[in-house]
């Protein structure tokens, strides 16, 4: 490949960059070629060191796109994020807060039940002092059963609690992302 082919290909691949800037890039490349030739290199050697026009153009395009997006994002931050914050506030108030409170209420209710079951062996002590043997044996076995159920119940609830917390955090982060305008 000769210099002319290189420059044509580069220019073609930079066609989406504004004219002034593209010309500036091509000038830089021309300068590079001129100095390389002065130093006794051939056009082919210089191109070999430069890399392919497509590779170089890709870097330029990535940079311009990156800078544009940065600007776009910082400019639109204000009004858009306020609007999405207000929108989310209403959606959360109407659709999320109610069911969430109900679920949390039920959850703590179940937790209290499990806790009660676990504490039920205390009843053994109470009935022991009452002196009624049949009552005592009945309480002994039933409270042992309740204790077992309570433990299993509790383990299940802890798992569900962790999972619920995880989901809630995800939702929370999703809200923040929407407000910040990230994708």
């Amino acid at each position: 490949m000769k210099k002319n082919d290189f420059m044509t290909q580069l220019s073609l691949n930079l066609r989406h960059i504004p004219e002034v800037e593209r010309q500036d890039i091509l000038d830089d490349m021309n300068e590079h070629f001129a100095i390389g030739l002065e130093n006794g290199k051939t056009e082919e050697e210089i191109i070999d060191e430069l890399g392919t026009p497509i590779e170089i153009a890709k870097e330029f395009l990535e940079d311009t796109r990156f800078i544009k997006e940065e600007k776009k994002r910082s400019a639109s931050w204000g009004t858009r994020s306020i609007l999405s914050a207000i929108g989310l506030l209403f959606i959360n108030l109407i659709f999320v807060v109610g069911p969430l409170c109900a679920i949390i209420g039920v959850y703590f209710g179940l937790c209290a039940t499990a806790f009660g079951f676990i504490l039920s062996p205390l009843a053994i002590i109470l009935t022991f002092f009452q002196g009624d043997i049949s009552q005592f044996v009945l309480t002994l076995f039933s409270s042992m059963a309740l204790f077992g159920i309570g433990i299993l119940f509790g383990i299940g609830l802890i798992k569900i609690g962790k999972w619920g917390y995880f989901i809630l955090m995800k939702y929370f982060k999703f809200n923040i992302r929407v407000i910040r305008g990230d994708k």
Partner: protein, 110 residues
């Protein structure tokens, strides 16, 4: 060498070279390429970006032979940025070295 590695570090190397002495594109490309394997052409997008972000400025200077050359020079802002990058690099390199040493020694134990 890994392309992603190089991208970030090249920026730093370019600024360090320019901080020692103002240089034109070709000179800089040769100085970098003599020590790091890189497609010289990809330095130009990098130089342009650093200039846009005001870490570098450019000026034209006549040369004894051929056309005037575009020199790159480090701005005060660029100097601060370079120093930040150097600190970051040291911390980063140190951490990576620790990982490597731990990895190597635990592999030897096996």
């Amino acid at each position: 060498m890994n392309v992603q590695f190089k991208k970030g570090v090249l920026e730093l190397c370019v600024m360090i070279l320019i901080s020692k002495k103002d240089q034109y594109g070709y000179e800089l490309a040769q100085n970098i390429a003599s020590r790091i394997e890189v497609a010289e052409g990809t330095l130009y997008p990098l130089l342009r970006r650093l200039t846009k972000e005001e870490y570098l400025t450019t000026y034209l200077s006549e040369s004894t032979e051929g056309p005037p050359r575009k020199y790159y020079s480090l701005t005060d802002k660029g100097n601060l940025y370079m120093k930040d990058l150097i600190t970051e690099w040291h911390q980063f390199a140190e951490a990576v070295n620790e990982f490597i040493e731990e990895g190597v020694s635990s592999n030897e134990e096996k």
